[in-house]
């Protein structure tokens, strides 16, 4: 018997599982769901995992200014990070800049932030974008804020681990340079994923459902984690279960 849960709660639980075994996870700006997930996994790890949340005061023990996140990534002290994108393509390229010709752009987004760096250096970069449509998941991005894979010889200890959307979880194969559908979230189907995805991806004959959060995980999310994430994202915390 399962307890009803929201999509947000499912995503938090899924990401937390993906972070298992990390020593230090950093969560960038405007990332409430990854933030909650990181705090959840920190809790489950008994505190062995460290979490830094940019924009938080409580979960940010940096003392060297904004550059410290990037320096830490280069030092190998960040095991996992999250990136999104206005467009993401099947090779793992991400676009945070805009559509159409550059620089005038038909649609212009804020900009690349730190993506053109952390994507290269953090071993486990989880691409996270709730919207799962052909508008977002395109055959080829219009602007490469950061590439999914690099030419041989380019220093690249990091890169995409997988892509989580509101519909499914894909892993990324760096050798084959493409995504593989791993699980479909409850309530959705492989056909729906195919319809809504603009790029080719590997798809096994049987795709399991994304496991629902266990009751004790849901209780944690709704209790301690909700309180903890409220420090950085008060409005998000108040709409957690919607």
């Amino acid at each position: 018997m399962s307890i009803p849960y929201s999509r947000t709660e499912l995503l938090v639980a899924v990401i937390a599982r993906l972070l298992e075994g990390c020593r230090h996870v950093t969560v960038g700006a405007s990332s409430p769901i990854p933030g909650a997930a990181a705090l959840l996994q920190k809790d489950l790890s008994g505190g062995a995992m460290r979490v830094t949340i940019l924009g938080s005061n409580r979960y940010n023990a940096y003392t060297n200014g904004g550059v410290e996140t990037f320096d830490m990534a280069a030092q190998g002290r960040i095991d996992a990070f999250f990136l999104g994108g206005g467009q993401i393509d099947g090779q793992g390229n991400i676009n945070l800049v805009g559509t159409g010709s550059y620089p005038e752009s038909e649609v212009r987004w804020p900009g690349s932030f730190g993506s053109a760096y952390v994507y290269y250096l953090v071993p486990k970069v989880i691409l996270f974008r709730e919207e799962h449509t052909r508008r977002v998941l395109v055959p080829k991005v219009d602007f490469i804020s950061s590439p999914g894979v690099s030419a041989p010889g380019v220093y690249r200890p990091g890169g995409p681990y997988g892509l989580l959307t509101g519909l499914a979880w894909f892993s990324f194969d760096k050798q084959k340079r493409h995504f593989r559908l791993e699980t479909v979230h409850p309530g959705h189907t492989v056909e729906e994923i195919r319809d809504q995805t603009g790029f080719e991806f590997d798809c096994p004959a049987q795709v399991p459902l994304t496991p629902a959060p266990e009751p004790e995980i849901l209780a944690l999310i709704r209790g301690r984690i909700r309180k903890q994430i409220a420090e950085t994202y008060p409005r998000f915390a108040s709409t957690f279960a919607n």
């Binding site: 200014g65 990037f70 005038e104 900009g111 053109a116 994507y119 030419a151």
Partner: protein, 274 residues
């Protein structure tokens, strides 16, 4: 610092020449909206605005007011309040030159400026369109390890670094606490202008707990008092951002007319000084 560092806000703004390379801080790190208003009021033009490493309302308003010729930034974002309409519109109408960057590149190039290096190498970047569109950046083969391409960025040395801080003292030292990018900005810039919430009568270097969080006076050229000087952006540990004002702004700035009406009203308000 010269002896007359402490001045009126209008004097501070008047000392920013048209065409200056101006470095500004990111939201919640010490954004001087008070000085931004005075800059718009004085009609500054042709700025090369360097956002360290991103900006929000400050860049959006300066761009909307026609003050910016070149915008060097890793992002312009008003976050959950909505799109930066004036920034997007200016790009579409080719009113500004954009130098899209990535956060660590802005930091590293400023650190090169701080150290008086002509350039600094940086990992990442290769294969991105960020690099492809930065004709001022180069890729070389790592001289210590052939077959290892690496990007080189020229140093950024702003003419002026501008930020808002909680406190200065009578000697001209400025307290920034953990916001160390403000120190890097001040070191890298030729001049540094600061607005502050208050002036302390105690020298920051007389308190061993305050000194580590200070920018020494030697880097500081002008200081003006501006209470709530980051408003409507927040100043952590002092005040949060004004959500209602930011929402109102984004709503107004959807059209150029709406933005003009916003500007008229905003410039009409007196600056809060002491």
């Amino acid at each position: 610092m010269n002896q007359q560092a402490i001045c009126e806000l209008a004097e501070l703004a008047a000392a920013v020449p048209d065409g200056a390379k101006l470095a500004v801080a990111q939201d919640n790190c010490g954004v001087s909206m008070a000085a931004t208003r005075e800059l718009v009021r004085r009609g500054v033009r042709g700025l090369h605005l360097v956002c360290v490493p991103v900006s929000g309302l400050q860049a959006e308003i300066l761009v909307g007011a026609g003050a910016v010729a070149t915008l060097e930034t890793s992002a312009i974002t008003l976050g959950e309040f909505g799109p930066a309409h004036r920034f997007i519109d200016a790009l579409r109408k080719k009113r500004i030159r954009i130098l899209d960057s990535t956060c660590p590149a802005v930091h590293a190039a400023l650190q090169a400026g701080q150290k008086g290096l002509p350039f600094i190498p940086l990992r990442g970047l290769i294969g991105s369109d960020v690099l492809a569109n930065r004709k001022d950046w180069k890729v070389i083969d790592n001289p210590f390890s052939p077959g290892d391409p690496i990007a080189l960025l020229p140093a950024i040395n702003p003419d002026i670094a501008l930020f808002h801080a909680p406190l200065a003292d009578r000697s001209g030292n400025v307290y920034i606490g953990r916001r160390r990018e403000l120190l890097t900005m001040a070191h890298a810039a030729k001049q540094t202008f600061v607005t502050v919430e208050a002036i302390s009568e105690q020298d920051l270097f007389d308190d061993p707990k305050m000194a580590p969080g200070a920018v020494p006076a030697i880097y500081i050229n002008r200081i003006a008092i501006a209470k709530q000087g980051a408003w409507p952006v927040g100043l952590p540990e002092h005040y949060g951002c004004d959500d209602a004002a930011l929402s109102r702004y984004v709503n107004s700035a959807k059209t150029e007319d709406g933005f003009r009406r916003f500007l008229d009203e905003w410039l009409g308000e007196a600056a809060v000084t002491v």
